[in-house]
Point group: C2
Chain length 279, copies 2
C-alpha cells in the first residue's frame, strides 16, 4: 500500500531482534491463543545447541522439544538463519557491561576482565563461534557488548582510528582462545580414555607412516618437548582443571598480556605501530 514496499525482510528480522524494545501490543485479535512464542523457541534452540552442539540443532528438534512440529515454528520465526540470529543475540545478554577499574585511569584491569568474561561466555556457548558473521547480526545485546569494549578501549586514550582497529584485533584473539578451551573441555568430557586412544592410534600411525618426522619438522618437535612442562603456581587455584584446558587458558593469558603490552607501547609512543603516518 504505502511506501514501505520491498524492505519487509530487513524490517522483519530487525524487529524480531529488537522486539523487547518495540512496544508490544498486549495481544488482541482473532485466532487461537498462541501456545508458542519467539522467546520460548529461542530458549529451546539455545538449550539444544548448548547441550548437544550446533550439529544437533534442527527445526524438527526445536519443535519436538516444545511439543510441536517443526512447521509450527515458521509462524513465529521466518527461518532457521533468522532463528540463529536471535539465538546469537539472546545469549549475548549474559555479558555484563560494567567493569570496575582497580584504580583511576586503569584501563588494563577492566580490559582483562572483559576478555575473561567474554572467554567464559564463548566456552559456555561454543556454538556462538560457529554463527556466520558474514553479515553482522545487529542485535541489541551484541551492540551492548561492542559498546562496552569500545568504552574500555577509549580509556587508553588512543585515537578513535586505532581503537576501531583494536576492536578487530581483540575479538579474534578471545574467540581463538575460546575455541581452544572449548575443544579441550569437550575432549576431556569424551570418556577420558577414548580420546586418549584416539591420540594414541594417531601417534602410532604417524610415527609408522612418517619415520622421518623429527628431521622434517624439527622446530615443532622441539617445541613439543620443551614448551609443555610445569603448570604454573598461579594456576594452583585451577588445579581442578584438566591439563589441556589449563594450557589453553594460559595461552589466552599470555596472548592477551602481550597484546596489552603492545597497546601500552602504542600509548607511550602514541604509536610506532598504530599511527601510520611516517615522520
Amino acid at each position: 500500500m504505502v511506501v514501505f514496499a520491498g524492505q519487509g525482510d530487513a524490517r522483519r528480522s530487525l524487529s524480531l531482534l529488537w522486539r523487547a524494545e518495540v512496544a508490544a501490543p498486549p495481544r488482541v485479535g482473532p485466532g487461537p491463543r498462541p501456545r508458542l512464542s519467539v522467546d520460548a523457541i529461542v530458549a529451546a534452540a539455545v538449550a539444544i545447541a548448548d547441550e548437544e552442539g550446533m550439529a544437533a540443532l534442527s527445526m524438527r528438534a526445536v519443535g519436538e522439544r516444545l511439543g510441536r512440529t517443526a512447521m509450527a515454528l515458521y509462524t513465529h520465526v521466518p527461518g532457521k538463519s533468522e532463528l540463529l540470529d536471535l539465538m546469537y543475540d539472546a545469549v549475548h545478554a549474559e555479558l555484563p557491561s560494567v567493569y570496575p577499574e582497580s584504580e583511576p585511569d586503569d584501563w588494563r584491569a577492566p580490559l582483562t576482565a572483559w576478555a575473561g568474561e567474554v572467554l567464559e561466555f564463548y566456552v559456555r556457548h561454543p556454538w556462538v563461534l560457529q554463527v556466520s558473521q558474514a553479515r553482522p547480526v545487529l542485535g541489541p545485546h551484541e551492540y551492548a557488548n561492542l559498546d562496552t569494549l569500545v568504552r574500555l578501549l577509549g580509556a587508553t586514550g588512543l585515537p578513535a582510528r586505532t581503537v576501531r582497529r583494536l576492536v578487530g584485533t581483540l575479538f579474534p584473539l578471545v574467540q581463538g582462545s575460546a575455541r581452544t578451551v572449548a575443544d579441550a573441555r569437550r575432549a576431556a568430557r569424551a570418556t577420558g580414555s577414548s580420546d586418549e586412544e584416539w591420540w594414541a592410534a594417531r601417534a602410532a600411525a604417524l610415527t609408522e607412516l612418517v619415520p622421518d618426522f623429527a628431521e622434517r619438522f624439527p622446530a615443532v618437535v622441539r617445541l613439543e618437548r620443551e614448551g609443555a612442562p610445569d603448570p604454573y603456581p598461579e594456576d594452583a587455584e585451577r588445579e581442578d582443571l584438566p591439563y589441556p584446558e589449563r594450557e589453553a587458558r594460559e595461552t589466552f593469558r599470555v596472548g592477551l598480556g602481550v597484546l596489552l603490552d603492545g597497546i601500552d607501547a602504542a600509548r607511550a609512543g602514541q604509536g610506532p605501530a598504530t599511527d601510520t603516518g611516517r615522520p
Copy 2:
C-alpha cells in the same frame, strides 16, 4: 589377519594425508583401470569450495564435476570429513616456508611476511576457516607451516613456553583478519549495489525501530563517526581495493603491529606478561 586390527581408521586417514611420502606401488593387480584418483577428487573439491563456497560442496557436486557419481568417490576416500581433511592439507601446500630476514637477527620482518602470506592464503581459500579444528588434521603441509612459524618465533629468543603460546595467539589473529577481508571482498563482489541496498534497508529499519540508538550505544556511534576516515598514504599502492577491504587490511596491519610490539616488550624485559613466575 595380523595385529593391526582395530586401528584401521586412523591409519587410513593418515596414510591418505601423507600419501605422497609413502612409496606408491606403481599400480598392478586386477580390476578395471581407475579413472579417478584421490588427487583429482581433492582438486575438484577444492575448486568447488573456492568458486562456490563451502555450502556448495557436496559429494554429488564433486562427483558431477568429475563426470562420475557421488558414490564413486567412496572407492577412493572414506567419507566427506576425510575429504575435507585432505582438502585442508592440500591447499596448505601453497604456503612458503622461507622468509628472508632483511638484516641479521631481524625477527620482525619475517614474522610480518609470514602473517601476510597466511592472510592472503586464507583470503584465497576462505572455506579453510570453516574446517572444524576440534581434532587437528595432522597433515604434512599444515605441519610444515607450523614448523615455519615456530622457527620464525624462535628467532625472538623467547623461551619455548612463550613461543608455544604465541603460536596460539598469532593464528587466531590472522584468521580473524582473514575472515574480515574475505567478507569485505565477498560483499564487494555481490553486484555492488545490492549490498548497499541491503545495508540501506538495514540502517533505515534500525533507525526506525530503535530511535534512541545513539543514546544507548554512544561509544559505538562515536567510533563510527570518528574512526573511519581518510585512507592512509601508505595504502596508495592499494587504491584499487574497495574501501571495506582496505579498512580490513589496515586493521590487520595495526593489530599485528601491536602484537609484535608486545613481543618486543616481552623480549626486552624477558617478560612481565609472558613469564608468569613472579619474582
